[in-house]
Symmetry: C2
Subunit: 253 residues, 2 copies
């Protein structure tokens, strides 16, 4: 039987999602807890990787298991919550069809990037970028809007991303007011590696007046990695929603 496990995690102390030998990763912790509770080696597959220090308010992973009769789903979720470290939370657990896949069945992914400004927020110091001067939101949104639709995001990719191609379809990319600051929400069918932090870093340069929205658009069209700004720090970035094909994830009870 295949299950979807919905997770949230604070990425501060992890080298990202993906298992790497000898490194603390979120996937390694989840696999360790599943293996311990199910008493057989169990491995989960995530909807996608998150990089070192990046958080998730919603990440999805699937795993295959034969639950013993004595282990209900509720009990498994309860035990997972007790076994996982406090910086990884198990939100929800449900069975799926055998061919449902946490990565390949995902249709859309949403990332949120939080900025605390102009008042510092000591409770979000690891979960937001602090800017003591508020950037120009109108200019950032003018630039962000140029990304909506289908584009090649080579300009906003890591040089050694290892992707086959850099074309993404963006449904949403805009800054919004949020408590204590701003949030940039970006939603697409897929993302290339490092893309959101490079987009945010470059948009913040627009917001500081160092680049015009028109120059941002020309950068996107140029498909050249070298001209983008530096990546925004990982601590503000959250994988916030993974959407699946209809019928895979049941409505919450």
């Amino acid at each position: 039987m295949r299950y979807f496990l919905h997770l949230a995690y604070d990425g501060t102390h992890y080298r990202g999602w993906q298992i790497q030998p000898g490194q603390p990763t979120v996937q390694a912790e989840v696999d360790r807890c599943l293996t311990q509770i199910l008493r057989r080696p169990t491995y989960c597959v995530g909807s996608g990787r998150t990089d070192t220090g990046v958080h998730a308010s919603h990440q999805v992973a699937h795993f295959d298991a034969d639950l013993p009769d004595t282990l209900t789903l509720d009990l498994l979720l309860y035990r997972l919550r007790r076994a996982l470290p406090a910086d990884i939370g198990a939100l929800r657990l449900h069975p799926v069809a055998d061919d449902a896949h946490a990565r390949f069945s995902a249709e859309e992914r949403t990332y949120d990037y939080f900025v605390a400004t102009p008042v510092p927020d000591p409770f979000r110091r690891d979960h937001a970028l602090y800017l003591d001067r508020t950037p120009d939101v109108a200019a950032m949104n003018e630039a962000a809007a140029t990304m909506i639709g289908q584009f090649d995001f080579t300009s906003f990719s890591k040089v050694k991303g290892g992707e086959n191609h850099y074309v993404c379809y963006l449904y949403e990319a805009a800054w919004h007011p949020a408590p204590g600051g701003l949030v940039f929400r970006i939603r697409a069918n897929r993302f290339v590696r490092g893309m959101v932090r490079l987009v945010v870093g470059t948009l913040l340069d627009v917001g500081r007046g160092r680049m015009t929205p028109r120059e941002f658009q020309e950068l996107l069209w140029a498909c050249r990695r070298v001209d983008a700004s530096g990546a925004a720090p990982a601590r503000g970035l959250f994988l916030s929603r993974v959407e699946y094909e209809p019928g895979i994830v049941p409505e919450p009870a």
Copy 2:
């Protein structure tokens, strides 16, 4: 000239507000930054102490200083924000009358205690108590309501609190739904040491069915420290509002 400095801080890594030789405290950090920016020894006086590990979303301190002509209030606040560690945030700074006092002019204090339940929240693991089973809110509120008004809180005080008396006037004491769980809000003219965490710990025993609301009331009336439950952990507790006599704190611009 006297000034009020409004602060927020994450208390996780501090031995409370009050200066103690050789210990990291919030007051010591604020004094160090004020002294560094104003270039003369400067000491602040808080509205009250918070204990080891307790947070503040709103704390107020006063200090006396003669600002040089070149140092505007806005610039002092900007420099304070840059100088303070990331777990202490300067919210606001304004002049007050010479006889305004952060502690003695305060008329009301509010504390909030956060509980994450039943889903763990990895982003609030240091800022909320996690309970995997949701307590009985109706029973806790029936018990909490018995504290409204003027009572001797000896039953909910630390044995060696050092107070002159234990009488407090409570205006508000109730559990409310909050995102991802519950919050207990308690508002009074004053609090005795350790009181909120002892009240919360005992109310949670009511919420778990280990004590009835009537037994809670009898405990309050008994004025005996020994019978209360253990204190709830510091990480869920926030000093959340300090209210002053009218005219002391100007409306925000």
